[in-house]
Amino acid sequence: MEFEPVIGLEVHAQLLTDTKIFCGCSTRFGAEPNSHTCPVCLGMPGVLPVLNKKVVDYLLKMAMATHCTINRESSFARKNYFYPDLPKGYQISQYAEPPAEHGWVDIETEAGKRRIGITRIHMEEDAGKLIHDENSPSSYVDLNRTGVPLIEIVGDPDIRTAEEAAAYLKRLHEILVYLEICDGNMEEGSFRCDANISLRPVGQKAFGTRAELKNMNSFRNVQRGLEYEIKRQQYILESGGVVVQETRLWDDAAGVTKSMRSKEEAHDYRYFPEPDLVPVHVDDKWLEEIRSAMPELPLEKRERFVSQYQISPYDAGVLTSGRALADYFEEVARLSGQPKAAANWVMGDILRLLNEDKKTVVECPVTPTNLARMITLIQDGTISGKMAKDISEAMYTTGKTPGEIIEEKGLVQITDENALAAALSEILAKNPDQVAQYRAGKDKLFGFFVGQAMKATRGKANPQMLNDLLKKMLSNQE
């Protein structure tokens, strides 16, 4: 029998607000344990949560970017369970009345384009962290992360392959980062994914028994974990067994999923409306504020780049992989008036230099103005492409303008035909044998003359002019 996987992903994205969702503590990562805490996020007796409006702003952005229906009223609920990293003994989340529902994103895999539904998006608070010390019988609790805002994006069970799952995740990741509401760092846990996966015979409508998969902290691990789980469940079903409903953990090192807890051990979260918070009302004005501040999203930008700048879909993809990079490119294209050259330089030298330094375009020492200026100088023949390579590297290391570098290095291209002709005559006179051989038909020697000429001019000769002139002089039979 042939089986079809049914996969639904739950994504938790940490929001980039300065302060926590229900108190004024900082959300900064990596501080001294428990230094970013107050009575509210420590869950002390008698304190109360107050909603950070920024969190709603960010949720609305994501809801709009993923074509969700936005509910004008939503409310908070308590999810009750005991764990030391959860100081109140409940997590404030949203349950019965989510703020956003029924959205979608388009994904593309080798199998083609597909639309994946989004069930709902809601706000909640993050829990803290336990720190285990192998040499100590006790564990420690760090509550800095407690109350850091999250949005949970619950996907429809529309995904059919591990590859689609990875593509869907990448799409969500890209949108979140584009909206500048999440830093997307999977290792630090600011973008996390759980997967529900079941198999069913092809053609069957009803879902099979699902396993919930956790602990996959990279796109690759999500794909590997799901691939493994598909095989595992397939094996069980094919050998006549039954899949058990349970939570499984992906073990990256072993490359397998392992049972964590069964359905019987599953929590009863006893959700009920959070009485300490009032419902969130989103009015027209609020929605309009968010809508008007929405940036162009990656897919739209990609399509625009292809049509507006006449660059390839691949190049458009690279250049829109980040909002800052896309802005950088567009600025260079605008200032230089040469989008294709701008694309080549940004994707080529600039990205290479940045990657070597593990820097992002925001930290790029070459300003768009300087890069555009350099492209203009190539276009008007002031410098050669080869010179430009040196200049761009020098701009990168020093942050100076192309003009300053050209001056310092004396790099202006020789475009004076007489000066170049004089230099060439000298070379031809010095190498009578090679001249004779060339004229006898040994065309390969042309390169030799170009090399000599470049050496003599220290690379400053305008290559096109040099070629033309050299050909003319060599063909002039004396």
Partner: protein, 485 residues
């Protein structure tokens, strides 16, 4: 009359006219505490040292002509409001070592108004009870009869006012915890509209029902206290932005022409004949003051107790989850592992009644039972609220008994939780609806126990409530007795 026997407004007059000083008042109050506290046991923690320092500051302020209405007045605090640097136990072993690093919003307000804090008063554990018998710190005594309970859960605060161990006090009311002990101790107790007073720093029992309010010796003092306590607080999302009037302006105004509702469901079986007689007399007094009494119906009243014992324990089961021994408070020693620590800590840290309610609430919220219990209860709660909304279209205020009986004996109802729960029968629906209520003394039983009458008003009508309560107080002119301590 000794200083500690006077009211806030009487003492304020004396302070303003430099007839006495806060230090004298404070000394008088602590003298009284020294004399009777061993019998009454109103307090868990006394704050004598800081009280005298506060009194000194108050006197300096008065010297500079900065005399507010509460400047230099000794006030007792229910041990459910967090006081920065002072033990706040909530009557529980679980918090028997908890010293909050913050003040509750009402503490800040009282401090700013110049109050002198005498101490933290005894209460039922986590406010769950109607007698203070569930307190980890022992039972407070009713100053009128030391064999009897003072009511609860704010029993310590009520007893402290009745025994003159403070001039006024702060309590909290989730199902009657201010009004019931006020009635049983013969003092005035006001539960404001839900959202009128900030709950920030009030240790939560049932978040959608809890409200802080004052115990005072007369209605005017209640108005003075409300002027200080009421108002919006951005740290409590459920606090109201509704404007706060000067409540004192309602004192002494008449109620001529008012329609006062008598809910027929409140004068039924289970009502003690002496209480019924006293309250019927109060109805007459209100009519003598010029009001017209009309019968109103609150048909869903009969469900209020049932609804309450689903909603309140459900919220409590969640609110009390934070007491796990991890961060603060009591932790049972010698645990094998995390689960063992939770179990031992919560088993030893909570008393029987608290555990009973946590279990009730956990059950009501459990998957498969939520719809039948919590959800249904929430729906009926809306109906209870609607009953009141409708009643208030026909009357300006409602009059009812506060409690079914006068104070009962210590131990009389501890074996039967249902009997204990019934003592809140007349107060609970108020919290369900979120409306304000006040209990005012209306007489004594034959054996000399105080009886209270309750007035209710529509949301944010504390002004009206105080107006009718003060008009009644004046018209009734109940004989002023003092407990024989």
């Amino acid at each position: 009359m000794e200083l500690h026997q006077l009211t806030i407004h009487e003492l304020s007059e004396k302070l303003r006219s430099k007839e006495t000083s806060s230090e004298e008042i404070t000394a008088s109050t602590f003298g009284r505490i020294d004399a009777v506290e061993k019998d009454v046991h109103a307090y868990i923690t006394l704050m004598k040292e800081t009280a005298f320092a506060e009194a000194k500051r108050a006197d300096e302020a008065i010297k500079k002509g900065e005399c507010g209405v509460l400047t230099g007045i000794p006030i007792a605090l229910k041990d459910i409001v967090c006081t920065k640097g002072t033990l706040t136990t909530c009557g529980s072993r679980m918090l028997s070592n908890f010293i909050p690093p913050y003040d509750a919003a009402v503490i800040e307000k009282l401090r700013a108004a110049g109050a002198v804090f005498t101490g933290k008063t005894n209460m039922d554990e986590f406010a769950m009870g109607s007698s203070t018998e569930t307190s980890f710190y022992g039972t407070s005594r009713n100053p009128w009869d030391l064999e009897r309970i003072p009511g609860g859960s704010s029993g310590g605060s009520a007893a402290a006012v009745a025994a003159d161990e403070c001039i006024a006090s702060i309590g909290s009311d989730t199902g009657g915890s201010i009004r019931q002990p006020a009635a049983l101790c013969g003092v005035v107790g006001l539960k404001p509209t839900y959202g009128r007073v900030s709950r920030f720093g009030l240790i939560a029992f049932a978040s959608s029902l809890d409200q802080i309010g004052p115990f005072t010796k007369d209605v005017e003092d209640a108005a003075i206290m409300m002027n200080v306590l009421a108002g919006y607080d951005n740290r409590d999302s459920t606090s109201s932005i509704e404007e706060v009037p000067d409540y004192r302006q309602f004192i002494g105004k008449g109620i001529e022409g008012w329609a006062v509702g008598i809910p027929r469901e409140f004068f039924v079986g289970g009502l003690d004949p002496e209480v019924e007689k006293a309250v019927r007399q109060a109805v007459k007094t209100v009519e003598e003051a010029g009001a017209r009494c009309v019968e109103v119906s609150l048909p869903h009243t009969e469900y209020s107790l049932a609804v309450y014992y689903i909603v309140a324990p459900a919220e409590a089961s969640s609110n009390l989850a934070r007491y796990d021994g991890v961060k603060y408070g009591f932790r049972a020693p010698e645990s094998r592992d995390l689960l063992d620590m939770y179990k031992k800590t919560r088993s030893a840290g909570f008393g029987t009644e608290v555990k009973r309610r946590i279990m009730l609430g956990t059950y009501a919220l459990s998957s498969g039972y939520y719809d039948a219990y919590y959800k249904k209860a929430s729906q009926v709660r809306s109906l209870i609220k609607r009953d009141f909304d409708e009643a208030f279209t026909m009357c300006d205020a409602i009059i009812t008994p506060t409690t079914p009986t006068p104070a009962f004996r210590i131990g009389e109802k501890t074996g039967d939780p249902m009997q204990m729960y019934l003592s809140d029968l007349f107060t609970i629906s108020t919290n369900m609806a979120g409306i304000p209520g006040i209990s005012v003394p209306c007489g004594y039983s034959a054996s000399g126990l105080p009886i209270g009458v309750q007035f209710l008003a529509a949301h944010f009508q504390e002004g009206r409530l105080l107006q009718i309560a003060s008009a009644y107080e004046k018209q009734a002119n109940i004989e002023k007795r003092r407990p024989n301590l």
